[in-house]
Point group: C2
Chain length 574, copies 2
């Protein structure tokens, strides 16, 4: 491919609407073009990158006996009514009517379609296990698309669905798929992707993992233990907080605390550390606006995902009215109105001498001892894990918090969909059961953008060889020089004939202009042919990531380039 | 792939809702599953067939310098408002609103998106010509989906868009693309696809061709001249009708014709041939219900596409009211109400002594001589070409009418989209012009289904080797026989190692059951390994299309199969 012919503009200025680097690079480099909020068109380089990612995914899915199928983008609402998700999923599920006023949806995930496709096929235990997958366009009507291809509304996704007759079989397959995902990310040139335990969210099911590419601009927060290798999405990470009771429990004492509302103010006023306070965090259930008060230790934050899973419903931060019976700024566990759900976090276990609200305007308590003052209460884990906190696996104070982009996920779904959609099989005794499902997703465009985010410099992306839009970028500096042109033309032909994917810049532009464009295309190997080099009878071969730079005799350049490409590909595949 | 593991059911009974064979076969053979009207999921065999078709298309598009890109499925209405098609296209364009109430559409074609993608890039003449294409899901809210994958609402399509600075350049590229399409259909195993001149419909532009796979169940009607090779879609085919005037023109005479309404009845009553009558066909414009009366020779039918292009608007068959001034059954050109548009077809040119309606209840005229009675009227081509009619190219009475399925089309669009969407480039003199566009489509799933329709027998499809889901189908008859199993297992492994795509049936089922399944999968080469064959130390190799059947020594089977596969692939590629 001649660069001169490549459709798409490249430019220097960072677009002002790009918050993250990969987004700016992909706009500046002629990778994507904005069409509407969260909707992009892709130019050839992106398409080439994505097709390579798709092929790697396909090979790894086929290797674990996946069968590639295709579900529709547009589905009848009735299919989603069967599973109950037509009602339960929010407005990210795009609902509309066709010309006959039939209600339809745009597929944002395809569990329903998968069950629909195999419901008749899977009627006998002899057919199990099996896995079907597709690589297809999805639409999720995100409220806040961001970061270019990182969080979009329309995207290409590989989604796979496995069906099993026992939990053991699912778990065995799940482990296989976990391994296949590791292969995929390694083969795509990002072996640093880690898997973390995650919350299953609207998918249902119990065990699930997310695959994260760590980068400071990631949307997800991950707790990692460098000691033992534990990792989990902050949403799912168990919080362990150890307390030691003071030897003497002081009596519960009302203190006058005028104009003092926040936990910080209370602690300052009482000159006690935040760890010795009991903080109230108040929510309201979306369904009926009823109040939920969560008490946590003063230095701890509520993990809303855990709370959501515990309550089994959606909620929002509370707007506290006079009728509620709650005294904002003075809410405490003792004497609180019965008009609300009261919950206690594990961070309050084994504590005494805490300060807390007294449920009375301008008054707090000191000397709270929950076990004494409210005997019999239950504690649950509602807390966010903290930097330096205790690792739930090895028990050391070694937790670090990182940010990452979720580039894939795997779920043990159980029977949520087969049950609601009434898919059954007969076992060898003729008894009917619901098959057990797993599902496994990877966002193709998001992976491409995440790699760009994790692997770039100030000048552009540094694409790993296995997914780079081209293998090698030839720059013919001063192509008006007949020697340069002839040498470059020949190398271009020879490398292409040998199966290398070459982008060739023979424009009559300055070397600086040429190199900026090459940086923006991020091709891993660059060959520079210039009058100066040719005087020494060499070509210059450099790595986009600056890991090497050689001057190689002209006649050896082709072989050297081919061997570098092979080495870089082999490394990812090994 | 072991057939035992292939997800999807195969069965004998023809589903009652399948009107055409390919639809029935694709349901019976586990290729597709109905999801909603015109919306299907695809099982693995279909996906494999379609991916092969896509790869052939991709290679041929790349060979004519196409750049693969991707446009969104979901687009903002504003993009279609720019071109004017948001208003002009009917309800097959699916319109809806997203969560922010922004009006959106589902892409049924992507001219607007293509112009949007390259509008900035193409600002200088130096960038031209270029072509971009995608292979992507489309949605067209068809009123009457039919025939399985033949006419659906959701489908995968390759759509390409080329941009030029002169009509000559477009024409040159158009010819290249025409050739590429011939390559695609030949390489896909259907060299019999023909190209026909067509009407451009809502796409705009002038010259266009459709690629047709001829089959009696096709939706399109095609006029073909076997003498000179002329072919055109019925919608676009010029109609040539020659008349000879009688020497003497009789006077225009009113005849009492009670209870006679149709042209057949009139001709019977007057004992004159239909060719000697002038028939009225009445329509109403959709926009204002105004009447359009088309007069044609009595034996000729109106081609509504030609009429639509002439009128430049949509219309429907008339409902004639009393207020209209028209006398249904007695409408004629002389003395007709001025309350309607009156048009004359070329088939009436050079006629006399015709019968026609007298615009008066129960009366007709004889002796109509249009040139005498209505001097100065204009004739236009509104007629359908007829079987045995005159070929517009060679002038002989050699026209035959066939039916076909449109599997591809190419259009010279002109500046319709660049003008409305204000895409311009500067020429070498600094003057601004609108680029000239071509567009080029192929429906992937429709091509697969059309091949099935054109190439099948009572038992299933006969897939051409280049797009067959697998190359070879091994049937191990009596796999409980250790010898059979070992021989078949070995062949399966060896063929796969040699790069052949193998589906392997080692189920313990009857030979009849096995062969029915093999017929439904339509794999071009079959190898049968059975105790009886092994007694003679042979395997049986047969063609799905029955073109050959060999008994080959076991140890030579692998090589023979590989050479057959190669030969069949080479033939399509040559």
């Amino acid at each position: 491919m001649k660069l001169e012919k490549l459709v798409g503009d490249r430019f220097k200025e960072r677009p002002s609407d790009c918050q993250i680097d990969s987004h700016a690079i992909m706009v500046r480099g002629g990778y994507i073009k904005y069409v509407a909020n969260g909707i992009f068109s892709s130019y050839m380089p992106t398409k080439r990158i994505c097709r390579k990612i798709e092929q790697i995914i396909r090979e790894e899915m086929d290797a674990i006996d996946g069968q590639e199928v295709q579900f529709p983008v547009v589905m009848p609402a009735s299919l989603w009514e069967e599973s109950g998700r037509y009602e339960s999923v929010g407005s990210e599920l795009l609902r509309f009517s066709d010309r006959n006023r039939s209600p339809m949806v745009l597929g944002m995930t395809h569990e329903e379609a998968a069950v629909h496709l195999v419901r008749e096929y899977g009627q006998s235990y002899t057919k199990y296990p099996f896995m079907i997958y597709q690589i297809q366009t999805k639409f999720r009507d995100e409220a806040r698309p961001r970061g270019g291809l990182i969080r979009v509304r329309e995207f290409t996704m590989k989604d796979a669905y496995s069906f099993h007759t026992s939990q053991e079989d699912l778990e065995e397959y799940y482990a296989k798929c976990h391994k296949a995902y590791e292969n995929i990310f390694r083969r795509a040139g990002v072996p640093e992707v880690i898997s973390v335990k995650s919350d299953s969210g609207m998918m249902g099911g119990s065990v699930s993992h997310e695959f994260m590419l760590l980068t400071p601009v990631g949307e997800d927060t991950i707790a990692i233990c460098k000691e033992c290798g534990f990792s989990a999405n902050m949403e799912a990470a168990e919080s362990i907080i150890e307390n030691t009771r003071d030897e003497v429990s002081n009596p519960l004492t009302e203190v006058y605390t005028p104009n003092i509302h926040t936990i910080e103010e209370v602690c300052d006023f009482l000159k006690s550390p935040k760890e010795k306070s009991c903080k109230a965090v108040v929510y309201q259930r979306n369904e009926d606006d009823s109040y939920v008060v969560v008490f946590v230790r003063g230095d701890v934050d509520v993990n809303e995902t855990k709370l959501r899973n515990y309550l089994g419903c959606e909620f929002h931060p509370a707007v506290i009215t006079e009728e509620s019976g709650l005294n904002p700024g003075y809410i405490g566990p003792v004497g609180i109105t019965e008009n609300c759900t009261v919950l206690f976090d594990l961070s309050l276990k084994n504590t005494n001498n805490l300060s807390c609200g007294a449920n009375k305007e301008e008054y707090h308590y000191t000397g709270l001892d929950l076990d004494r003052d409210l005997p019999g209460i239950e504690y649950h884990d509602f807390a966010k894990i903290m930097e330096g906190g205790i690792c739930p696996k090895c028990g050391k104070h070694t937790v670090t918090i990182s940010r990452g982009i979720e580039v894939g996920n795997i779920f043990q779904l159980g029977t949520k969909y087969t049950k609601t959609m009434n898919m059954t099989y007969l076992d060898s005794n003729g008894e009917a059961h619901y098959p057990i499902m797993g599902c496994y997703g990877i966002g193709v465009g998001r992976l491409a953008a995440s790699v760009c985010e994790a692997h770039h410099d100030d000048y552009g992306p540094i694409w790993p060889m296995p997914i780079a839009p081209w293998h090698v970028h030839i720059c013919a500096v001063r192509s008006d020089d007949a020697d340069v042109k002839a040498t470059a033309d020949k190398l271009y032909e020879e490398l292409q004939s040998a199966g290398a994917e070459v982008i060739y810049d023979d424009r009559q532009v300055s070397a600086g202009f040429m190199f900026s464009d090459a940086d923006l295309l991020g091709v891993p190997v660059r060959v520079v042919i210039s009058p100066r080099n040719l005087k020494e009878n060499v070509c210059e071969i450099t790595a986009r990531d600056k890991s090497f730079s050689y001057k190689i005799p002209v006649e050896e350049t082709k072989d050297k380039v081919l061997s570098i490409i092979k080495e870089m590909l082999d490394k990812a595949n090994s």
